[in-house]
Each structure stands twice: as C-alpha cells, then as structure tokens.
Symmetry: C2
Amino acid sequence: MKKIDVCLSPEMVHLHKTEGKVVVVIDILRATSCMTTALANGIESITAVASLEECKALGEQGYLTAAERDGKKVDGFDLGNSPFSYQDESIKGKKIVVTTTNGTQAIVKSAGAREILVGSFLNFSTVVNYLRAQPNDVLMHCAGWKGKMNLEDTLFAGAVVDALKGDFSHDEDSVLTALNLYYSAKSDMIGFLSNSSHVRRLQGLGIMKDIEFCLTKDIYDVLPIMRDGKIVNAHLEKVVL
Amino acid sequence: MKKIDVCLSPEMVHLHKTEGKVVVVIDILRATSCMTTALANGIESITAVASLEECKALGEQGYLTAAERDGKKVDGFDLGNSPFSYQDESIKGKKIVVTTTNGTQAIVKSAGAREILVGSFLNFSTVVNYLRAQPNDVLMHCAGWKGKMNLEDTLFAGAVVDALKGDFSHDEDSVLTALNLYYSAKSDMIGFLSNSSHVRRLQGLGIMKDIEFCLTKDIYDVLPIMRDGKIVNAHLEKVVL
C-alpha cells in the first residue's frame, strides 16, 4: 500500500524523504490558498522565490509581483497575501512571482520530490482525488510559521490523511497528531483555530474574511503543480498536451 | 504571568529560547522515566553523554554505564533503558553515565537554560509543583525519536500545561497541539498510544511492562535537576545544604 507522511514544518523536512514522493505544500493562511485562487482565476503561472530582491527582479521582466512578510503586504509590490486580491479579471493570463514568510520556504525545501503540489481547503477534493489516483508515496509538507509548526496546516494535513484512509498506510506520530487535530477541529474549524497563534496574528491585521474564505472546502477545481520551477494548473496542462 | 512553551523535538529547539527558562526534558519511553527511577532508588548522580565512547570512558573511572540504541541495551554496558533495571538495591549510592538515542540529545541541546529538569509521569506532581512555585518561564523539551516528534512526550507536555492552567500563559501552536493530544488521550493513555510509532517499536521488543510503568503517574517524589553537568535529586540537595 502507498504510504502517507506529514512533515510539521520545513525545519523538519530533512528528516522525511522527499525523493520519489509527491509532496503537497500547505500554507493555509494564506500562501497556498492564494496560489490556488490565482490559478483558478486564470493566472498562467506562479514562480515562488525566497527573497524580496528576486521578486523585484522578475517584476522588472513583466511579472506581477506579490510579497508578504509577517502577514502584511510589502510596500512597492503589486499584490499581498489576501486571496481576494487574486480574483480580479485583470490578472488573467499573467505570470506572478511570489515571496512569502513561510509558504515559499516550504516549496523551496521540497526540492528533490517526484512532484510538488500546492494544497488548500479551496481545492481539497481535487488534491485528494489526484493523490488517490497516482501511484507514489505522499508527504504532506506543512509550511508552519517561521520554522515552527502551526495548527491550520497540520489539521489540513490530517483532513487529507483522513480522506485517503484505505488508500494509504502511515507509521509516523506526526500523522497521528495531524489526524487527532483534525478530528478535534472538524465540526468547527474557525472556533478551533480562534486561539491559534496565526489566527490571533491575522485577527490583529483585521482579516477575518480571509480566514473564513481560506477554511472553505472545494471552491475551486484546480491542481497546482510545479513544472520547471513554475506552479501551473495541471488540469489546463492536460488540455494543452 | 509566567509563560510556558512546548518544543516538539530537539531538532526545533533553536527556534525556542532556552535562555532564562526552566527547561524540562521529556523522554517518557524511556530515558527520563529511567532517570527518575534511578534517583528515587538512591543513585547519587546521572551524567548524560552523547556517544558510546564517552560512556565507556567514564565506566573506566568507576561509573555504572547505561547505553541504549534503537530501543535496545548495547552489549558491553551495565544497564539498558528499562526502568526496572534501576530498582535494584545494588545501584544505591553509585554514579551512572547514560547514553540514549533521544533523551541524551535533548539534555545536551537544552544548554543555556537557567535550570534543566527531567520529567516523567513517575514524578509528574513533583515537577508540576516545582514549576508552579518557581518564578521563571518554562520550556517543555520533548526528546522525540531521532529528531521527529512523538506522541508520548508531547502528551506529557500537554498534561503539565493542563495542570499549570492559571499559573502560566502560552501563545504557541505547539502548546495547543500538546493540550489537544493530552485531552484525547487522558482517559486511556495506553490505548491512545497503542498505534504510536514508539509503542509499536517497543512492543516488537516485548516490553509492554515497561510502557505501562512509564505511563503511571506519581510513583516517585524526586526532582531530577542538572548541577555542574550531572543530574541529581534536588530534594536531597536541599537536605544537605
């Protein structure tokens, strides 16, 4: 049987093998929710970079730029880290370059994987169905917050493991922890997360609307996947090929 | 109000400050349970070292040697990692040098703390009462398994945080995760842990009796504390002073 594993933060990913696996990068609040939203709204590709300088450099080559640090949009860039910024008609067909506090690092540290996907509640079932249909082991890679684990990414990982019961086996305590958090949270995710460090941080920034949106399941049917350093929608790719 | 934090594995401890804090090292199965048992049975001091070589070298100076790797006693050393080995009259008054897969590393990586304690269910209330009475912030440092987190250390951390409600505040998601695991496990810890990676590993080694013992609360009233590189029973120390 295929195996599924959960890595609680990029700080731990060297302890989990990425080689040969499908790695799902998770940054629910809000990087991977934004990426999902952007691809669903017609963005052609997303390039994730580690630094503001790299982000600016690609901006000079015609990319839309998106930069977030500590939960806030960085001045001088086109877009921040609210999913609602990625629903505008004007972004259709454009390429975006993105740098964020955590999500970007998790993508960079997933190097070596057979495939890198981007997961969020917004495209939950699309990700689950793809993982079920493909033949490889899976690593759910939580972006966390500055190297530490967080609740929302871990419980998303738990939700995916739960949905894949019967198709995957697991033998790590991080998987049991993620499942346990998901079972505790699933009847009222916003309530469960209201004490989490990240939600308190974002509440301080006044973006409860973003949080509610990012916790909504199955709004979009897109499968964000890394191809040659860019994240694209694999569904469109199939149509093109 | 004093703060309490949980570090899920020594691999993450550089992200938590140890400076100025009381750090409680936790390796429930079985290093810190053994240390507690040893001090309760009259061992004078415990020296934790990283390598088998250092362990052997102190053995040549007259220390009892205890060495465990991958859950098994290492050949050529006096003691392994079963708490029952530390209940014999013959060990009374001796000094022990210990090296284990995980617990030792967590002790070594707690360097910089104001005080380093050793916690286990066996001396649960003694540790909790000490933490409540003293004035500093606390970091619960889970030893985990080879850098990854594990269930039993995390839920012990959660049990301590729960017992200290009202005396300490917290703001990290790792603390909420530990609390959540503890609330799920507390009515039947052995049942809850039966699927954990570590318990499955130890069951393979046929030591269910050790596991049941290590999950029993308040057998011993000892407070293991690091002094000049050695772990001693702080209660005896007070009597001597």
